[in-house]
Amino acid sequence: MNRARENSWLILIGIVGAIFLIGAPQVLELFTIINLTTAIAMALLALSLGLVWGFGGILCFGQSTFFGIGAYAYVVAAINFGGTSWAVVVAILVAAAFAAVLGYFMFYGRVSDVYLGVITLTVSLIFYNLMRRTSGPEYKIGDALLGGFNGINAPPLNVPGNASWILFPEDVFYVAMAALIIGYFGCVWLVRSHFGRVAVAIRENELRAELVGYDVRLQKLLLFAVGGGIAGTAGVLFANGVGRVTPDVFNLYNAALIIIWVIVGGRGTLIGPVLGAFGLFYLISSLGQQTSINNNLVLGVILVVFVLLVPKGIVPTVIDLWDRKRGRRGQFRRHGRRQRRRGSRTAETRHEG
């Protein structure tokens, strides 16, 4: 609500992002930089769900679908085109288009949000089962063998228009980080635009939005497609960070991860999911060093604990605590009351950047 305070945070985020963009490759080892590229892809993916769920109120449990489709489409197109310039565009468009088609069936069928969550998750799992079966030589798109369980090697990005000038891993990091920064501020712009404010209005009260004259189904479909496109972009970056795309991008673990980033970071904010993705990526990498505690177990416990005890997520909770400490009683009271009145709908209502 406090636009001035929000803007100063945005400036701070921009500065930190820019320092990270320029500074990280200077001080970190190559191995870390490559890992970071993957983490950035994850953060962009988290951002896409933060937009769709946190602002549009669309409960998508299968954001991994568009992520995976983006990754596969990028690889398949790059192999067929013999360069990545257009493959990136194709990947983003295919992911967005698939989201639009799926969205058409769900929003125009007026599926309720709980169903929507389960349906999107199911679609992702079907893709997982499907892609695992594509190991034979008959499963190919153009020149690209889909490779079943083992997936396909991802051609690295090249300089647009010059397929022989292939980017180094450091360069890919720059591209990924720039994409994240652009994606983030693009989303900030979007939620402040008329379109974004209508999305929030629909989240708040669908019937009222309709009576005021907004076509709720179309609005949701468009937002969902934008979210799908961003997730697809994340898929392209992921394919570059890991160097390979396998059916695992669609699996249950991946789908759960995205939800957990957003829950932990906080719905109704854009920076929350991004920080959630980075934080959990770091946590899981550290856990990867040992074998006694299973990742699933840790993530499951985190999810249950947050749903039961910190339903708003870290960033909104910290903002609340901060406000309370600063004696902004009014603002705190407002949050408390809102929470009670809405019960299950824990969607956060302020537009923090």
């Binding site: 069928g109 089962n129 673990y253 177990l297 249950v304």
Partner: protein, 289 residues
């Protein structure tokens, strides 16, 4: 002729398989409007119960038909008491919490038994001969179990007190809760029964599929589709959706292979969703169980 019998059997088995893996989920959904995302892990736990107890020397029939539903049913009741009951009325949070539970269960089983299972068990019934074709006797047995299970569910819904409450809830959750019947005990029992049915299904399928900590994921996609396509009527929904989707899947799989079968199932489900967003039983068979 024998070919047609074998093919028909295959289709019926495809349908029975869907009913089996979906029924536990449908019971919990129909009565509580809770979609249990840990459903796949309940199946997985049923499978582990059977494999471990059989390898420990227990009779496989006892393990499958008694122990698996018992163990998973008790786990279900515990889960309802310590987690789900705090979240009633908060549909989205319930979904998320059961998803967390799903991950916890996968993690626990992996930690205890490892990511792969070393030992598997073989079906206790061998192949049988239909003319020139052999058919799996165990699949026939599963078809029989599914039929018996459906009849039991029908009787339970029709003639027991909890069945009466269930029917009330299926007609409209508000009415049932206005009558004050949705006591927490009913919910705990429902969740337990749903879990037990899932445990039974997981146990029965273990000899065919083997067990893995992550095997739940291979079941739940189909189970979710079936239950959502079916709608809130527990039995009619599961049976009609299984017949449609299982039929399409089996026929397409027979004609072109399992990959297209899977795609066909998804496409039919999504088109169905556009035509009947509340599921088959919201449009057809309205007053059914």
């Amino acid at each position: 002729m024998d070919l047609y019998i074998a093919l028909a059997l295959q289709i019926v088995y495809g349908i029975a398989n869907l009913v089996l893996i979906s029924l536990g989920l449908a019971i919990i959904f129909g009565m509580m409007r809770v979609i249990n995302l840990a459903h796949g892990e309940f199946l997985m736990l049923g499978g582990y119960t059977v494999v471990i107890s059989t390898n420990a020397g227990l009779n496989i029939w006892l393990a499958m038909l008694i122990l698996a539903p018992l163990v998973v049913g008790i786990i279900g009741v515990i889960v309802e008491r310590v987690m789900i009951r705090f979240l009633y009325g908060r549909m989205v949070d319930t979904l998320l919490a059961t998803w967390g539970l799903s991950l916890v269960l996968i993690g626990l089983v992996t930690t205890i038994f490892g990511a792969q299972t070393a030992t598997t068990i073989s079906p206790p019934i061998g192949a049988i001969q239909i003319g020139d074709f052999t058919s799996s006797g165990y699949e026939l047995f599963l078809i029989g179990v599914t039929i018996i299970l459906s009849i039991l569910a029908y009787c339970a819904l029709k003639y027991t007190r909890i069945g009466l409450i269930a029917r009330g809830t299926m007609q409209g959750a508000e009415i049932a809760s206005a009558l004050g019947v949705s006591t927490s005990r009913t919910y705990a029992i429902t969740f337990g029964v749903g879990a037990a049915v899932s445990g039974l299904a997981g146990g029965l399928l273990a000899p065919i599929t083997g067990v893995l900590p992550s095997i739940g994921a291979t079941y739940i996609a189909k189970a979710f589709i079936t239950v959502i396509s079916g709608g809130t009527a527990i039995l009619a929904g599961t049976l009609s959706a299984s017949t449609l989707l299982g039929g399409v899947n089996s026929v397409l799989s027979y004609l072109t292979g399992p990959t297209i079968g899977e795609v066909g199932l998804l496409v039919v489900a999504i088109v169905l969703l556009r035509l009947m967003p509340q599921g088959i039983t919201a449009r057809l068979f309205r007053r059914s169980l």
